[in-house]
């Protein structure tokens, strides 16, 4: 399906034609869940009638009567509304244009207690392909939107909130691109290539007012988190970073979602049966599943296995976009911070090499005299990793981007996890 650089317009047309041929050939076939074939669509698909890129150069001003696919594929428009992704262009939190599907994650990247609204738009006739441990393989033309809103009170995520920004991930011909939009007014969001710094943002969390400077990321920041980098294999290795989505992995999608019409259903099954996902194993027990974690989870109530899985899920989605290496990535690729030796992927067994999770590992770059190792099992107070999650000092703060306040519940989870890890050589002697 990958088309050549010089004649992509034609090959997209060919592709579309090809898809419709297949549509004829496979018309009436059932669920796509065990279908290994090419693009298939039917009237009941979630993206039926959504349209898709035509291969033509788009126009930000065009009224596409729905998603403005050609503009998404070829233009960086000034206004979010130019892309026609939402029925109400002033509300990116609900009612996507035809083809948009809401989703959420079992455990999410912490972003200063904001509420996030996610939608995926897959062109009509196309499907994502299941992958066991990496982000699903989304077809060209796929658009993912994520809107961040700061609630007045984190206990009541009922719409009493300030919509701040909407980030787009677009799968264009030469790879994914990210474009940030900032809601400067209630009317529309505008392109924010250089980000935005918003002082004096306030939310009430557990009865305490948190006031902080919220950072809308720069476009280049998007790449910082979303890129994997080559582990260069010699002086002539000139491979480049690869841009990838982070959240939509099977393990985070493998949970129930309450859809706008009230339906509650497992998201992966919903996508498969809605013909926007293929290759999902018939046996859902074989699909990775990160435990649910949110502000109401009580770490102390988890048994050791649940705690390990929950902590790993949290570390994965908050850290492992950078702190990862190899495993299920393309050969000799890693996250930008994989080289630190701290590698926190959910699909990396802790027991295989606890030092990858920081156990008894001296910080290579940086460090702090008060903490003897990244993770000191059974002594969270001596663990640099927990300190880095719990400080706002730029020199030490982790994650580097997107966090101005401490995620108290996340820190509590990791504190509990460290204190209940199996004893290691650096653990305090009883």
């Amino acid at each position: 399906m990958k088309s050549h650089k010089n004649n992509h317009k034609y090959s997209v047309i060919v592709m579309v034609t090809f898809a419709s041929l297949l549509l004829t050939a496979c018309g009436g076939s059932g669920s796509g869940s065990d279908d290994d074939g090419g693009p298939v669509s039917s009237g009941s698909a979630l993206n039926a009638g959504a349209g898709g890129p035509t291969g033509a150069v788009g126009d930000c001003a065009a009224d596409a009567g729905g998603v403005n696919w050609d503009a998404l594929m070829t233009k960086t428009c000034r206004n979010l509304s130019d892309y026609g992704l939402f029925q109400d262009p002033t509300d990116p939190t609900a009612n996507p244009a035809k083809g948009g599907v809401a989703y959420d994650l079992s455990v999410a990247l912490f972003s200063d207690y904001t509420t996030k609204y996610r939608f995926v738009f897959i062109p009509e006739g196309e499907k994502a392909v299941y992958r066991a441990s990496e982000a699903l393989s989304f077809p060209l033309g796929t658009v993912i939107t994520k809107t961040f809103a700061l609630p007045e009170n984190t206990a009541f995520r009922d719409g009493n909130e300030q919509v701040i920004e909407t980030r787009l991930l677009i799968h264009r011909e030469h790879g994914w691109v990210a474009i940030p939009y900032y809601w400067a007014s209630a009317e529309d969001a505008t392109l924010a290539i250089t980000g935005k710094s918003l002082p004096d943002m306030t939310t009430n969390h557990n009865g305490m007012d948190l006031t902080f400077t919220y950072s809308v990321p720069k476009a280049s920041d998007c790449t910082s988190c979303h890129s994997i980098v080559p582990l260069l294999q010699g002086p002539n290795d000139k491979r480049e970073p690869i841009f990838l989505p982070i959240g939509p992995k099977a393990r985070f999608l493998n949970k129930d979602h309450q859809y706008a019409n009230g339906t509650v259903y497992n998201q992966l099954l919903y996508w498969a049966e809605g013909e926007i996902l293929q290759g999902l194993p018939a046996d859902m027990a074989a699909v990775e599943k990160a435990p649910l974690f949110d502000e109401l989870t009580t770490p102390d109530a988890l048994d050791d296995n649940e705690l390990m899985a929950t902590a790993k899920g949290y570390l994965d989605v908050n850290c492992a976009h950078c702190h990862r290496s190899r495993l299920t990535l393309p050969d000799d690729y890693a996250g930008p911070a994989g080289g630190s030796g701290l590698q926190l992927e959910y699909n990396r067994p802790y027991v295989d090499d606890p030092s990858k999770f920081g156990t008894c590992k001296t910080a290579v770059a940086g460090g702090h005299p008060d903490y003897s190792a990244d993770v000191v099992p059974q002594d969270a107070g001596d663990s640099y990793l927990l300190f880095r999650m719990s400080t706002n000092d730029n020199r030490h703060r982790m994650p580097e981007l997107g966090r101005a306040v401490v995620h108290q519940e996340g820190a509590a989870l990791i504190e509990t996890w460290i204190n209940r890890l199996p004893e290691a050589s650096c653990s305090p002697t009883p």
Binding site: T76, R78, G195, G234, A365
Partner: protein
């Protein structure tokens, strides 16, 4: 690229094309919204203070900015999705930059100011960590500017092939303090790295640090008042020469640390450097926190290192210190548990094939100290050493415990941990053979009389049954051997010379086998 004949006519053209590009950013940019920012102005000069000729088609960032202005937004716009082979020029003056500047996958980019003292970027109020960070990229140049008060690292590259840092300063002003950021110039996991004519001052970690990289030349730099002056870590094919390294806690370091993606380094040559008075107290943390203040050159758990023809002067603990990882972690029994995966990849706590020769060693050891070596210092400076009388701290100090344990066949169990690739590369835990040894000869005693006798070689542990000491249980204990450095008996051997590093940058070769063929240091 340089069109000298007609540069004066360029600015107007640039202004027009930049204007088009700016509107393109919002309305009809293609993938990624290219949008070089700023407008061009007639400049008084088109060469930087180092002589770099700025081409007429360069992108001039905020050319009208005056000192004190915040140029963050202009920098971000100019460097976002920057076209191949761009020259991006930062203005003259001292400017505020309030966020991390990240540059992704730049190809052929030159980021330049007007000079190391002309274009200063002040990150002291930044809400970010690193000052400038390059992710990916091919043949990237950073030159003629200064980065001040970075919150974390100064200039970092990760996974770049072709990095040229020149006439660039990374500075934390004032006293050396623990919150002075992290690394200054910081190529990581990169290839073909040329770091030359830079000034690295005041880092709480290493002023110049090259990590997990290959094919590296670090020359003609000044590293001053950092915890570590220049550090080469888990890197191969590195030449460090003609640098002035002064006032740091430790001057020049070759480290191999466990747990990293590139498990080990090698073929590091440190030569013809001035390593002077590196006596700053250690305010660092993490790996560099172990460096004893007053250390000239430190080889730590690294192998295949040649240190020669350096002037190593007035470092108050030792001129050259060589230690296995057992110095910082002597829990040998737990190495498989703690470092097994790294050892599988070839990391080793041992030091092997270290060759020290023709260094001029003068007036070192005047005030030896360091938390990690308190007992060693106490032994040498009291009667508690092999000579039975107080001594000046050895100018060349070798730990020896790793070699002794190897020679006693107490580490051969680790051989089973070594993966096939590493084993094929020669990693083992057998008794040291001739090629593994630590050798020091032809070093020159630069002390004046009457202190001439005070330039010594010391071995903390004897490395053979004849020289080692044992307690009643048969466990090795420090011998604290000492001998004169000139014609010493303990490290009296010769190793093969190491081949030079070669940097290929934009298809030109740099280093002793490249542009420096005629450089005197390269024929030493």
């Amino acid at each position: 690229m340089v069109r000298e004949s007609s540069w004066r006519r360029w600015p107007a053209v640039i202004a027009v094309s930049v204007g088009i590009l700016i509107s393109g950013c919002g309305e009809d940019g293609d993938d990624g919204a290219r949008g070089p920012a700023g407008t061009a102005a007639l400049e008084q000069s088109v060469t930087t203070t180092s002589g770099f000729a700025i081409p007429g088609d360069a992108v001039f960032v905020a050319p009208d900015a005056v000192s004190g202005d915040d140029i963050t937004e202009e920098m971000l716009l100019a460097l976002f999705d920057v076209p191949d082979d761009s020259v991006v020029v930062l203005p003259k003056g001292r400017f505020t930059v309030s966020e991390t500047i990240t540059v992704n996958s730049a190809n052929g980019l030159t980021l330049t100011g007007y000079g190391i003292n002309e274009t200063l970027l002040d990150f002291s109020t930044a809400d970010g960590d690193d000052a400038i960070r390059f992710e990916g990229g091919i043949d990237v140049t950073i030159r003629d500017l200064g980065v001040y008060e970075a919150k974390k690292n100064g200039i970092k590259t990760v996974s770049a092939n072709g990095v040229h840092m020149a006439y660039t300063a990374t500075v934390w002003e004032g006293e050396l303090e623990s919150d002075n950021g992290a690394y200054g110039l910081y190529p990581l996991q990169s290839q073909n790295i040329l770091v030359e004519n830079n000034y690295a001052y005041g880092s709480a970690d290493a002023g110049i640090y090259v990590g997990q990289s290959n094919n590296i030349v670090v020359r003609n730099n000044i590293a001053k008042n950092n915890v570590a002056g220049i550090e080469i870590e888990n890197s191969t094919m590195a030449d460090v020469y003609n640098n002035l390294v002064v006032g740091n806690t430790g001057g020049i370091l070759a480290f191999d640390l466990p747990g990293l993606e590139q498990a080990y380094g090698g073929n590091v040559r440190i030569f013809n450097n001035d390593v002077y008075a590196n006596n700053a107290e250690n305010v660092g943390s993490g790996a560099v926190g172990i460096i004893p203040p007053g250390t000239g050159v430190l080889v730590f758990a690294a192998s295949d290192v040649e240190v020669y023809n350096n002037d190593i002067t007035e470092n108050e603990t030792t001129a050259i210190s060589i230690a296995s990882y057992f110095l910082s972690d002597n829990d040998v029994a737990n190495y498989p548990a703690n470092y097994g995966a790294s050892m599988n990849q070839g990391w080793s706590p041992l030091v092997k094939n270290i060759y020290l020769h023709d260094n001029v060693i003068s007036r070192n050891g005047g005030d030896p100290r360091g938390a990690l070596i308190t007992d060693i210092v106490a032994g040498y400076t009291s009667a508690g050493n092999a000579s039975g009388m107080p001594q000046t701290m050895p100018a060349i100090l070798y730990g020896g415990i790793g070699e002794l344990l190897s020679n006693l066949d107490q580490l051969s169990g680790f051989n089973a941990l070594v993966g096939a690739d590493a084993a094929n590369d020669g990693v083992d835990y057998d008794a040291y053979d001739a090629g593994d040894q630590i050798c020091a000869n032809s070093n020159i005693n630069g002390n004046p009389a009457p202190d001439y006798a005070n330039v010594n070689t010391g071995l903390v542990y004897g490395t053979t049954m004849a020289t080692a000491s044992f307690d009643g249980d048969g466990n090795p204990v420090p011998s604290l051997l000492i001998d004169q450095m000139v014609n010493n008996t303990y490290l009296n051997c010769v190793q093969n010379r190491l081949p030079p590093a070669v940097v290929n940058f934009k298809n030109n070769l740099y280093g002793c086998a490249g542009d420096d063929l005629a450089e005197p240091a390269c024929s030493l």
